[in-house]
């Protein structure tokens, strides 16, 4: 009896049951009924929104990786102006809610440059928002290669290219991956805010389906589940990589 309470699997099953019981309680407490059939015709819309969410998240990831690396380079530049610029930008971004970033980019910054393409501006807002976080990931990954290793590279006479190609970058990528996965998870969750620009991602699609079917409870729960379908495997993948690739 006592050993079953010590088992990890049992603990997880129990935790899952608790969660399901909580969900059942929430559903039963709603005034409207729970009917999945009404939203069934909209499956393809959800599927398409699901992939759009993944698509813009990956674009944001790639964009913020590039911009984050540029920010990193500017932040270590010998030109003080660049350091200050990045510092200031980082402070502003850290202090800005993502929703505010999205509307300011789409409705103020974009139009100032003559651009009204909300899909592009929305993704740009996400990229701007994530770049300082990416910059920090690069910074800590590169710092984690200790001074002594550089000394060893020097002693054996590696060229600068060889140092980066065979020793520094392979390590940086390993260190980078887990926080990168976590950032991707942040991006996916943040992309829900693009609904204010009518971009057809998961949140927006859900609201549209709800307004057509009045299935509010079902709509929110399905949307919630779809986010978790992406983020939970992602975070476990990050943990796996962290364990496997740790140096």
């Amino acid at each position: 009896m006592s050993s079953i309470f010590k088992s990890k699997a049992f603990a997880y099953v129990l935790a899952l049951l608790t969660l399901l019981a909580f969900l059942a309680f929430i559903i039963l407490r709603q005034r409207s009924g729970f009917e999945l059939d009404v939203v069934k015709p909209y499956t393809s819309m959800w599927v398409s929104a699901f992939f759009k969410t993944i698509f813009i998240s990956l674009i944001t990831l790639a964009g913020s990786l590039v911009l984050g690396f540029i920010f990193y380079l500017l932040s270590i530049s010998k030109i003080k102006y660049f350091n200050a610029l990045i510092d200031l930008f980082t402070e502003v971004v850290y202090g800005t809610p993502l929703l505010v970033m999205v509307v300011v980019t789409a409705f103020l910054i974009g139009p100032a440059f003559g651009s009204y393409n909300r899909n592009v501006l929305g993704v740009l807002a996400l990229i701007f928002y994530m770049s300082p976080f990416m910059k920090n990931i690069f910074k800590s990954a590169i710092l984690s290669i200790d001074e002594e290793q550089y000394l060893a590279m020097e002693a054996f006479g590696f060229t600068t290219y060889q140092k980066y190609r065979y020793i520094i970058l392979p390590q940086v990528i390993r260190i980078l991956m887990p926080p990168l996965m976590n950032n991707l998870s942040l991006i996916i969750k943040g992309s829900a805010l693009l609904n204010v620009l009518s971009y057809e991602e998961l949140f927006y699609a859900t609201v549209v389906i709800q307004s057509k079917t009045y299935a509010f409870v079902e709509g929110y729960l399905i949307m919630w589940a779809l986010y978790l379908v992406i983020t939970i495997p992602l975070s476990n993948f990050a943990k796996l990589i962290e364990r496997k690739w740790a140096l």
Binding site: E148, Q149, L151, A152, E154, A155, F156, G157, F158, Q162, Y166, I167, P170, Q171, R174, A246, L247
Partner: protein
Amino acid sequence: MKIELSNLTHIYDRVVIDDCTLDIDGYQSIAVIGVSGSGKSTLVRILSGLEAPTMGTAKVNGLEVHSEEHKKKIGFVFQKHNLFPHLTLKENITLVLEKTRDYSKAEAQEKATFYLDLLHLQNQANKLPKHVSGGEAQRASLARALSIDPDFIFLDEPTSSLDPILTDEVLKAVEELKGLGKEFLFITHVMSFVKDFADYVIYMDQGVIKEHGEPSILTNPKTQSLKEFMEKVR
């Protein structure tokens, strides 16, 4: 090994090596001893060409220490093993040989295997540094230093991060290498090893070479400084 120092001075934010002059010749394994911060590491790094002195000159076997020709002759073993953590012990050696010494893949493999065997690491060859003990990692570092066919092996406190048992294991490995015909310059705090292995001793204190000579100076120190040092390390 022939070492010539002439008014060698090195300054970081303070004077680390203070106007050292020395001319010795004909010794195979030279120990550099002294308390922490006495300038030993800096001296060895300058002699290996890893660091350029602020003033003065240093030559080893007649070559300027910053010359590429001299640098290629040195195998360096650091305080920490400094193996590249993402590569196995064997890959740590083959990477160096293939990229910096133009070996073919097969030659590099063969050589890496030979030196890992020599240091009794055949069973650890395909493990990452984090999966072997500190002593094994340090021996692998020694194998890596040997693999480039250096004339000199420089060791900068190779056992300072190891417990006494592992220290013994690494120092025994170094002693076994004496027959390879290499010349050694090493820093250590293990005086029994100095007495057994060194045929010349340089004692440093506050950036100055206070005393140097054959290991007998350790039992009959001339300066008060070395006398006090020997009392402390005993």
